[in-house]
Subunit: 433 residues, 4 copies
């Protein structure tokens, strides 16, 4: 039997708290899960620094990747007999679902920003490079790795396949909303996925939703909205991320200045030099990062030492609402005050902004444009969701942005009350609230 | 106001997936949570290698410690107005609950076995030594750290206090059963804790259970039984633990032989020499262990390299039922066969045994003797649980033991079919099943 | 000890699927639950005809009333030590919560419409009349029954007390949303009540919400919105209600025409004559209604017989979207067509309209005006919810209305295809969709 | 297309709180659900008087019947491709599952005892008689109704089919344990049904369980044990059942004595005379029973009046532990004392006994003998469950019996303290506890 059609002698299941069980019957999927590149995802948390806010959020990307695979598997059972669906794409969809986050490193967001990386490039590189994953995919067919990479990259010709993995209501989002809600324990994040799966229909080049399922989709969109603002953009999580980013900046600056580290930062050097090989990238998991952070908390450089110590021991920055565009003068004054009291403002006075678009009818030409969700009416016509749903219309296209200013309140508080800077700093910060 | 009575200006809560919310109002508790020794528990998984079997089981000891604290807090609300209860012990109970696992290191079970450590000693050492935790406790009173250590050590004079933290139905067990069930996703581990808390009564030197709550306790005991055999003693988890233990053995042996490591195992040296200082102990979190394992997977020593590679990439040993006491002859033959094919049987042929006593009426003189559970009858007399409950009587005192033999099936399979050892090894292994 | 302060020797609990346990410690509450007027609520379904759509929705008003009591009990534990809260009102609040729905009869909505009743009048009448409930309340104090009635009637002087029971975020709504979601099994209806209770604050004449709890309130409002449209206004439920209403109309008309019933409708006569005594009202529970409906399904009057048969055996009307205001001509044509085919359009061609306002900032002068929800800002000022929440603003004050036309499709289908009326009726109905 | 193969144009679903959704695609099933005999199950509670103890337990047999159907449907999806399974039996299994409780009347247990009925006879009668259900089944084939009746009656030739519906681990039990747990809200009743379904295998003349699923089955058996003692045999529920039974006895006795009822008990006469036709039986739903009970609470006969009043208004009997076999003398004394104080002991002094066998390895020759559960070992042999599971062995075959004595404590309490009978009665009752 061809490898691509090979079934396990007996179905394997993974006990999953979110989907009850993840079922694997294809040999290819089983083999992919066993590769070291996929196992590496166990050592990378799905939510980066969120566990410092929600202590339950310690789950890994391995966890989530299996979940996305399982959702796609269930969708395809429903699609199996539909005329619009090409059964030949089944294994491709499953592999793309399983591997879509393969290139994530630890704390991707911060690492990508500081070292100018893109995890999507590494996903592609792992799939196409000299890896165990690539070897498994090659056994399916010589062009199969490229196809998987194309689906994840959204360049695959069959857009219907792409839309299962990346759209405004794809398996990726449906898994992470439920999973992150489960592990954080928040009560948002519930929606009736079983119903959504049942009303999904393959339709030309996209997955659409039967109109009767509109309310389940509304619920999903509200869920997403709440999860973004309550969990993903939680200000305490962002505080940890701010510190993390500053550690990376500092350590890079020190390297560039020729600073002598107590322990050579071997794993990081190619990152500093922005020439990261696939091997270097794969070796840098979360354990390695934590190991270095622990080392750096004992470095001689006081700035690096303080920041690393803060991150490891969760001595985070506090925050106030602050929009530097509107509060230019205050910003400049604070900047100078921080310099005066010996706190480098480039590291200790940090504005972080988050923004999200809960649902988008259409954003042509924008960077991350995603197709809107379409409802399938009884007459077989399509209608864009926000034209049918009052609630979605109400929030659609409305970008919400939140600016916060992070700073080490503990340090300011320890200043002598005699120092006028102390009083002035708090004046500016508190009036801004 | 005395520090011990100080309340936070506003109650703080932690969102907890198991208990919904963990509530903190005491300044002392809040300060303890903020210490670096307590924050370190975030970097140690509650269930060691279980996440290699149940991918959801990635939660930390930090997570569990908050849970135990919360349960004790709720018990004490119910106790507050009872005549048998000494309100002065409240803060002591809460601190002991929060800190009871403070001395756990990564993969405690294996580390303790190989390096002859005891995490309870380190819990005590952290509480009494020169640590942030000690400083917080000292502010309550000069003898307070010792009291907390005594409660955790079960030597505190008021045994009622001790029994909240360590008994056959204590806050520790009630938290971990529910928490581990939640994160693994198994359907065992449910019992009606709210009811158990409501029927708990302080009674002389122990916590007892009103008779009307007997069935909830039965359910808890069955839960515990199932969790032990379905989760904690899962053979795949034990396979990972077997490998982990062998890595530690190997690396210690290499060190003792004067082997030159590519990277000096600085963090481990005091472990090899069995002179582990408090500082050394605290620095060794799970990230550090993973970091070294990654390094060791590239060492020259083929044995260490193979074992570390297996652990990191989850290429585990397979297992068969095997009781070396009953199968002495087979065991000796296998041992020789492994030597013949070049697999050191001390590392690659490992028997692991698990055993558990689901409930114990009384085990006088035994090492870990725990008081039986007592029911409080309407006439105010006590009756030991197994004398009242048919189900508990049926399983009580019955120790169940399970022996498994672990070995690298992949290696044996790759042997040439010509080699008679291959055939013979499988013959012995399979007939033993 | 005064009756009002009397505590049960031991707390009683009711196992409740929604709130886990309902706790009763006050003798007064215990006695009220035991009255026959309160027990009668067991024989009246909370959701009337909804169980014909959602088969799980068979729970009674007894069920819900205990739930509202429990929520108020929990709120008051949080209020107990707050300066704005008058502890003397505790028992009053609990009684009002428990008894707020006491005057509900079976299928209230339809009965009230046809027989021009108001369940709130009967709640008052039961509390103040010669009943077991009244006797219990009188033992608290001579003016206590009137006070309880006033709170439920929203005329009580202390509006803070009133707002616990009736506001846009009161214990009544919080219970029924969760309870109805639980019993129907829908995935809407979840919100973090524990958090809402924790951020509720007594503030002058209303209960307000600490700003930090805004998102939990948003979630509650979205929940409410979804429950209304997905559950309460479900078109199949309304079909059953339409038939029920028509049965009552028919039977009343027959009575007024001097029709001779096979079995005298004793329980209904005072309803027909619109002189319903308290006793008559109380006797008419859901079992009695079903008993008569079963009888009427065997009456000689074909219309009554058919409608009763349909209700009992769930042979419901079908529906199409239809707005008679916009489709006046079609409506008139249908009316005549129905007459022609011998279906009395007053009974068999029924428009039903539902409308809801998901949240209302302020509706001065309107019939059912309810205070908006106010957030309590850190500076102790209040801000109306929709001014702070984007989502609530988006849906606030937007009344949504839905019109449906109900008719017996089975009858039309059975007409001979030769009849031009058949074809024309379906033409009109289907084009309107 | 043959009726038996006809599929609905579009799958219909019922929202179910226990199984999420119940799916119907077969026209036959859809038509059966629509029959009036099946709809009648909506008017009969699944748990009779349990809602007087657990207020959530108001769910109907309609509810449960859909659930059993759904479980069988899911089992058959797993069986579909197995060689031991005859696909032709699929529709038969589904119909038998759906209809297995069709003959239940209100409060079956009491009615069957007093009027010497057997609901299984009526199930058969409805399936084979002149009913809507029969008409639907006949359309499948002339022998189909008989086959369905045979499966339910356990006389069908293919015992594998029978064992899906009636065995020690059948769809009936799996549904009611979970459903009754859900609606009562108790924490017992959870087990991993999804896993059990996955390890079920058709094997010759029975359904067996793959050995790897043994622990899930253990959990199910413990669940069942707890549900019996915590819910089904709850002493308060039994108190209501005792009263109910006595009402039926009394009313029958009055009828036989020629008593003149205020309202002729038309619906009951054939019951009194033990000549109940199918029509009479079907008409007697729970609403009718409640209607009469309300009437009887106003009868002249004081005994009937009191009992009916107690049932309607939940003024139940209290109870003590009492075994008349062991306490013969006390029993006789109580009997005489009750007579002395004017309480007819045949109605007011009632012993009720419950007993259950949690799991049975084999009870040859007994009335309700059910096959034991068999595990399927890897070598394809079978082993009876209790020989493999320690826990099941511990409880298997152990019948537990509980005797309680019910009496109207309120009446005894109201006796004057001067009466020696009062004191003596309480002496006997309390010492027996």
């Amino acid at each position: 039997m061809a490898y691509k059609d090979e079934k396990l002698h007996e179905e394997k299941v993974f006990k999953d708290p979110v989907h009850r069980y993840v079922h694997v019957r294809d040999r290819v999927i089983w083999d992919l899960i066993g590769t070291k590149e996929f196992q590496r995802l166990r050592r990378i948390k799905q939510l980066g620094t969120s566990n410092l806010t929600f202590h339950g959020a310690e789950h890994s990307r391995f966890n989530h990747s299996l979940g996305v695979y399982e959702i796609v598997r269930r969708i395809l059972i429903n699609f199996a007999d539909r005329s619009n669906w090409n059964k030949e794409e089944r294994l491709l969809c499953l592999c793309a679902a399983l591997l879509h986050d393969l290139g994530h490193g630890p704390f991707s967001h911060s690492f990508e920003k500081v070292f100018k990386l893109d995890h999507e490039d590494y996903t592609k590189a792992i799939i196409l490079g000299d890896t165990e994953v690539n070897q498994v995919l090659l056994r399916v067919g010589p062009e199969f790795p490229q196809k998987v990479a194309d689906v994840i990259n959204k360049t695959y010709k069959d857009k219907l396949v792409v839309s299962l993995i990346s759209s405004q209501i794809d398996a990726d989002r449906m898994d992470y909303l439920q999973r992150d809600a489960y592990f954080t324990g928040v009560s948002y994040g519930h929606f009736d996925m079983e119903r959504i799966l049942r009303v999904m229909r393959p339709y030309e080049d996209q997955v659409v939703i039967k109109e009767s399922g509109m309310h389940a989709v509304e619920d999903y969109i509200m869920s997403r909205y709440q999860m973004y603002w309550q969990v993903y953009f939680h200000p305490v999580t962002r505080s940890a991320e701010v510190i993390l980013t500053k550690i990376l900046h500092r350590v890079k600056a020190l390297y560039e200045d020729g600073y002598t580290f107590k322990m050579e930062p071997t794993h990081f050097i190619s990152f500093f030099e922005e020439k990261v090989s696939l091997d270097d990238y794969i070796r840098l998991d979360e354990a390695v990062v934590y190991y270095y952070f622990q080392m750096w908390a004992e470095e001689d450089d006081l700035l690096l030492r303080d920041l690393a110590y803060r991150f490891i021991n969760r001595k985070l920055f506090k925050y106030v609402e602050f929009n530097p565009n509107l509060q230019m003068k205050e910003w400049m004054e604070l900047y100078q005050l921080f310099n005066k009291i010996g706190l480098d403002p480039d590291y200790y006075l940090v504005v972080d902004s988050s923004s999200d678009l809960p649902y988008d009818f259409y954003r042509p030409g924008e960077e991350e444009e995603r197709l809107p969700i379409h409802l399938l009416l009884p007459n077989r016509e399509l209608r864009e969701l926000s034209r049918q749903s009052d609630i979605v219309e109400a929030i659609s296209g409305k970008k919400r942005t939140d600016h916060k200013l992070y700073y080490p309140r503990d340090v300011i508080l320890q200043l002598s009350d005699d120092r006028p800077e102390k009083k002035r700093i708090f004046e500016i910060l508190y009036q801004s609230e």
